[in-house]
């Protein structure tokens, strides 16, 4: 059902895929009012896709989960897909990931088999122009905000598109992926805290002792993990405080929950460690049944990894500007 009737050109959702949502860089600045940030699970691939089609870094695109959609374009656009690797078929012709390609008016882009990674990002020149809610187009499913009526895409939806800066006729060679795509297992780095004192002295060791399995009831809010239990030293309740992206909160069960893009703004469980910013996109490429291992690193290492990632992104942005 089409909830949006754009006057201009759009993209018709022929098949929605498993969980396809509109995402921009997130709804920042309102966490004090209880508004979750949201945004892409793998922000680096989201930004890479935008760079390849010459969009602004935070332009709204699609996040695709495990099973991709089929989309039909009203007018000619430049499109790029980054993140998880899928077979991409444009009117039956195979298209590369991590490279811009031109989609002509009336053409259909279909996602086929998924090869590696959990989430792919589609950027379309001009960006998706659904009306912003509280300053952002990011879909937040729990609060029903942003994107198309606050929900995942459905067949028949028409996504309005923005004015592209320019349509250009050249395509470039595929860009190397910036986030190393994990094949059903990833090792991510963490910094201890903010509440390590709530845990027994060996809990940080336990966290690093074996991989955790991502439980089936994991989603964009958080990954419920099953693995070595983490023992509390002062009980499992704290006075509710802020819950940053990538933090590992630990309820009474001792089994940690990794808080992801759609997390609530605050929570009442102690937090043992926080995944470094550079590795959050790697975690974002995992899904239920996959495994994740944690390793403590230093702040210096965390920042160096982030700088390397930023340099790689800026190089692509400069090349396509």
């Amino acid at each position: 059902m089409a909830h949006l009737t754009p006057s201009g050109p759009g993209v018709v959702v022929v098949k929605p895929g498993m969980l396809t949502t509109v995402q921009d860089a997130g709804r920042w600045g309102l966490q004090a009012r209880g508004v979750p940030v949201g945004g892409p699970m793998d922000g680096v691939s989201h930004r890479l896709a935008n760079a390849l089609v010459r969009n602004a870094p935070g332009a709204a695109g699609l996040e695709i989960t495990l099973l991709g959609p089929e989309l039909e374009f009203d007018d000619e656009r430049v499109v790029a897909v980054a993140g998880a690797q899928f077979d991409l078929l444009l009117d039956g012709r195979t298209m590369p990931s991590n490279a811009p390609f031109i989609v002509s008016a009336g053409a259909r882009l279909r996602f086929g088999a998924r090869r590696v990674g959990a989430r792919a990002y589609v950027a379309i020149s001009g960006g998706i122009a659904v009306p912003p809610t509280l300053g952002s187009r990011a879909t937040h499913l729990i609060s029903g905000m942003g994107g198309v009526a606050g929900r995942a895409l459905a067949a028949g939806d028409v996504l309005p598109l923005g004015e592209p800066t320019d349509v250009y006729g050249s395509v470039s060679m595929p860009q190397a992926a910036i986030v190393p795509l994990p094949d059903r297992h990833a090792r991510v780095r963490v910094l201890p805290g903010p509440q390590t004192e709530y845990f027994s002295p060996d809990a940080l060791e336990a966290l690093q002792s074996a991989a955790y399995v991502i439980a089936p009831n994991s989603d964009r809010m958080g990954f419920r993990l099953e693995g070595p239990p983490l023992a509390h030293s002062r009980g499992a309740d704290i006075i509710s405080d802020a819950t940053p992206l990538g933090v590992l909160q630990v309820p009474a069960s001792g089994q940690p929950i990794l808080l992801m893009a759609d997390r609530q703004t605050a929570g009442g469980y102690p937090k043992i460690a926080t995944v470094i910013s550079a590795d959050i996109p790697v975690a974002g490429q995992l899904g239920p049944g996959d495994t994740i291992a944690f390793a403590v690193c230093t702040m210096r290492e965390a920042i160096a990894a982030l700088i390397a990632q930023e340099r790689a992104l800026m190089a692509v942005e400069a090349r396509h500007a």
Binding site: R33, G34, P244
Partner: protein, 228 residues
């Protein structure tokens, strides 16, 4: 006057300022004053400043922030954080239709407190509450402190669906559900006022530090207001 606090990192992109570890209006006032000072400083690279009961989270982009200067600034503001000498705050007054099918747990709370339903309504609506923080869902305000006599703990098994506008009690906290969500609070009534409406000029009815009072309305008035 200096104040007790510590600053701890949460990963590489957030710093948390923690004040005394208790739910206390004075500590919370200090927390909010500190958050307002940091927010007011408009530091380059800072993306969000989030006060909760007794701590402030400062989210920043580590590649676009002078982290040493930020740390210094936060310490400066935490050191001096004192409840703003505000003129007596005018409370936000919120109408509630208590009991009946709009407040299905009112009778339970009354029996928990060994009081009549009218007593519970009186105790709930006599108090002036403080908005300690917002969280859970957009616009959800944690209000306190509820009179100890009616401070009933939440349900062991949460309801799958709590209607928008439901007014609940969970221990010494009270609050209004701004959206239809699952929830375990004891529901004693419902308000026709929306705590959160993204289409409204100011989408949020409350912010941390506000004062709030509830007053009883009858079903006819509730229905009239809800229909508007």
């Amino acid at each position: 006057m200096s104040t007790a606090y510590r600053i701890v990192p949460a990963g590489d992109s957030a710093l948390i300022v923690e004040f005394e570890e208790r739910i206390d209006p004075a500590v919370n006032a200090k927390t909010i004053a500190c958050a307002e000072a940091i927010q007011g400083a408009a530091i380059a690279g800072v993306r969000d400043v989030v006060p909760t009961y007794r701590s402030v989270a400062v989210y920043f982009d580590p590649l676009r922030t002078d982290t040493d200067a930020l740390l210094e600034r936060i310490a400066h503001d935490a050191e001096r954080a004192a409840p703003a000498a505000r003129a007596a705050q005018t409370p936000i007054r919120i109408p509630v239709c208590y009991g009946g099918d709009l407040g299905p747990d009112l009778a339970r709370v009354a029996s928990f407190a060994n009081l009549t339903e009218d007593d519970v309504i009186r105790l709930h609506s006599d108090a002036t509450y403080r908005v300690f923080m917002l969280g859970f869902v957009p616009g959800f305000a944690y209000l306190g402190l509820v009179d100890q006599r009616i401070a009933m703990p939440r349900h062991a098994t949460p309801r799958v669906r709590v209607p928008l506008g439901s007014v609940g009690i969970a221990g010494v906290q009270t609050g209004i559900y701004p959206a239809e969500t699952p929830g375990g609070w004891q529901l004693i009534g419902r308000t026709p006022v929306k705590p959160f409406d993204p289409a409204r000029a100011d989408p949020f009815l409350m912010k941390a530090g506000d004062a709030v009072q509830f007053y009883a309305i009858d079903r006819a008035e509730y229905d009239r207001e809800a229909a508007r």
